[in-house]
Point group: C2
């Protein structure tokens, strides 16, 4: 498998691109030490990088013979006590883009090559530093921008999810061994593997894998944001409401100078969860024509949402004016497992509760003034409560589409074993089906892998990790 | 001087803002070690951060008791062997903006405060790690984006410029001591300090300070880019030429993935020098009306340039058509110390050299095709040659406006001493003038300083340095 023959030495900028106080350039591979010895002159007399102890830091100058580039700190990590499991050197230089580029050029000219995206982590995986699911979590960790997605990635990186998968797989492996033993003694027609125990195990596997598959809905929502649709008649203040929520969040995020994260349009983090407001612009447009062309297009949008905020104008006196298609809404809510929150905007102009409102009292209703930014925090609380994710504390949430796919295939294989058992198929056919399930479960943690899978996974990483 | 009572503990993100493989958070101050012990759980058993040796790296977990944030590397630097001269800890965490922010929040909650811009370097200066001119060079180093500005900043950071200033100042200090000795023996009317030697020294000082002041023209140009004006009649291809030069550069800059620097509009680096194309848009507009309203406005622009590229259409047959105000151009060139390069564009359509061209043969002429990108590299070479900076190898180039100001004041003071000597003023008056000169020279390296000066200097730094 050519992409991970880690016999050469790779380097990359590991800190974010751009100007900063410092930048860190990482070098990994068998030539890391000799290469650095050629371009780094330590301030300590008689220091030999090649024999310096692991996990030590050394000040000195970097550059070619006549061309000093910078004064730097060099951190030494000896194989296998490094991120990649290889010899690693991290050069901490001044953070000008010029210096970053020149130091990289110098390292390249000494025989290293630029690391591919995720190649440091790929090498860590190949050297057994962690399994594939943990490696994937590293990439998730770096892009996570809410507490929940961060916690999910961190748990996965620390192995919680992998353990569950390995545990399930091991049980199946044990059975395979017994069944294969039967094959050796096939003349004698004995059953080393109890078919009843196998059925019990399969039921357990099915149940647990289904649970993992179900957790993807939550996991995906945590990772990519909980889709929320803001709908309502024209001029009830939907845009103003969205801006009011966004502004509240922005004020929190930019509290600490230098760490303001890039604004993600229409995505906000409340209470540690990321909420993604789906195509509300389109919704608004569709809504304008709602009386004449029906709400078909709106429904499509609503179907993508986990939470619906129905905004109405609480200054109007009749709820019939407010929610023109009450019966259709009831249908929507009863058909799909979504949360509906009624938002009475313009609360400052509220005289009395509109007629007909009592029909909707079973739904949570929050009165706000988007314009005056009143009660927005109550709405934020409601959004967080609407998620009701109880399963977060255990480590068995699947958030990766590749894992979901593998789990689905594993489930199919297990159902095939089940059917085979019922049909009393021969042990050799049974092992074929079991091996299918083992393959798919093993592909999650990387016990079974292919170059293509690895290429797909690590190609999505940022360079330098 | 309240701004540098470094008795508290400061922290900041030291790597560029944004997402990357890793981020580094720096903590400096007396509480750095105890603070980190509270939030960091090392993987090594029985490791005590407080007693771990300096310049070592430790892997472990960071977070509050029940809330794991990340797995990190912690680098330890013990006072005085650190950047600031204080106890310093650098936390290398995963580079998500979420983690960066949460780790900072955790450190702040444990009693540290956010560092002000340049505060780490300010502390380094206060602890005698380097002088003021060297500290200023750190900021220059970080923003430098060409080889020449980088070299200049690096030399200044390594103390080359400071030494020159200190050497000059020391000579004056020695004289002051002698003159003050005269004051003690004033009854006896002796001259410990030879007035002739002082005059010789003053001449030497004047000459050397003038040289430093003159070097600012070069230093400033290196630091901020060499101003170049592209002028010429309408439709000769000025914009196309500029784009051709810019494109050539961009291809070089983006060679190494991940280190592409932010594009600085109309600024390009050729041969290690930064060239800044000044307000060519305005120039072009002015030039359009040149026949009718004269070239007064154009001249203003030209006056800001160090190099003028006069572009003409080499497909035209008469140089009179090409350069309509030849006599005015001659005047321009002879009046100001600028380099004029004639650029004959559309060389692919050149039939023969235009009539009247021979009058300009004393100026360098390059024929190019901006559209076909032919000979652009020759023009680039000419731009570099046009600078002709020979003084770069010695360390006495001034690039800082504050230093220039101090040098000018020092020069004034030295001229006053000169005048005083000629007028045979008393030793006590002489020392007053000498102290003025000493003050201004000392303010460059920080031997003499005020809170205001420090505030101005370090306020311009980025946070985290």
């Amino acid at each position: 498998m050519s992409i991970f023959t880690g016999t050469d030495t790779i380097c990359a900028l590991s800190t974010p691109a751009g100007m900063g106080a410092i930048a860190v350039i990482r070098i990994s591979g068998p030539e890391a030490f000799p290469l650095c010895s050629r371009i780094f002159t330590p301030a300590e007399k008689d220091l030999d990088l090649a024999s310096a102890p692991s996990h030590t830091i050394h000040f000195g100058r970097i550059g070619s013979k006549n061309d000093l580039l910078d004064e730097v700190l060099v951190s030494i990590f000896r194989a296998p006590r490094s991120y990649t499991g290889e010899d690693v050197i991290e050069i901490s230089c001044h953070g000008s883009t010029y210096i970053q580029q020149k130091v990289l050029e110098l390292i390249l000219s000494e025989g290293a090559r630029m690391a591919k995206p995720g190649e440091f982590t790929l090498r860590a995986f190949m050297n057994g530093k962690f399994d594939l699911s943990q490696a994937e979590a590293v990439a998730d960790l770096i892009i996570s921008h809410s507490r929940s997605s961060h916690d999910l990635a961190l748990k996965q990186m620390r192995g919680g999810f992998s353990e569950k998968i390995r545990e399930l797989r091991q049980k199946l492996v044990d059975f395979t061994s017994l069944i294969e033993l039967e094959l050796d003694f096939s003349e004698e027609n004995v059953e080393f593997a109890s078919r009843q125990d196998l059925t019990t195990l399969l039921n357990q596997l099915e149940s647990e894998i289904k649970q993992l598959i179900d957790s993807f809905t939550i996991g995906n929502v945590i990772k990519n944001g909980i889709p929320v649709a803001i709908i309502g008649k024209p001029n009830v203040g939907k845009s103003t409401l969205l801006n009011a929520i966004l502004n509240e969040e922005k004020a929190i995020v930019s509290e600490i100078a230098g760490t303001t994260r890039d604004a993600i349009e229409d995505t906000i983090v409340i209470g540690g969860y990321s909420f993604r407001f789906i195509d509300t612009a389109g919704l608004r447009a569709a809504r304008d024509k709602i009386e004449s062309i029906g709400i078909e297009r709106t429904w499509e949008k609503i179907n993508q949402a986990s939470i619906i905020l129905y905004v109405f104008d609480s200054s109007l006196s009749s709820f019939d004016d407010v929610m023109d298609s009450a019966s259709e809404f009831r249908e929507l809510i009863s058909n799909t497992p979504k949360r509906l929150i009624l938002v009475g905007n313009k609360m400052d102009q509220l005289v009395e509760l509109p007629h007909g409102f009592k029909d909707f009292v079973e739904y949570e209703t929050i009165f706000v003034s988007a314009k005056r930014k009143e009660n927005i925090h109550l709405l934020a609380e409601s959004l967080v409560n609407a998620i009701k994710i109880d399963g977060l504390s255990d480590n068995t949430i699947v958030s990766n589409a590749r894992h979901l796919d593998a789990l689905k295939h594993a489930l199919e294989a297990i159902e095939a074993i089940h059917d085979g058992l019922k049909a009393h198929i021969s042990p050799d056919l049974l092992t074929v089906e079991i091996r299918q399930a083992l393959y798919h479960l093993g592909s999650i943690t990387g016990e079974i892998t292919t170059e293509e899978i690895l290429g797909n996974i690590f190609g999505k990483f940022c360079i330098g990790k």
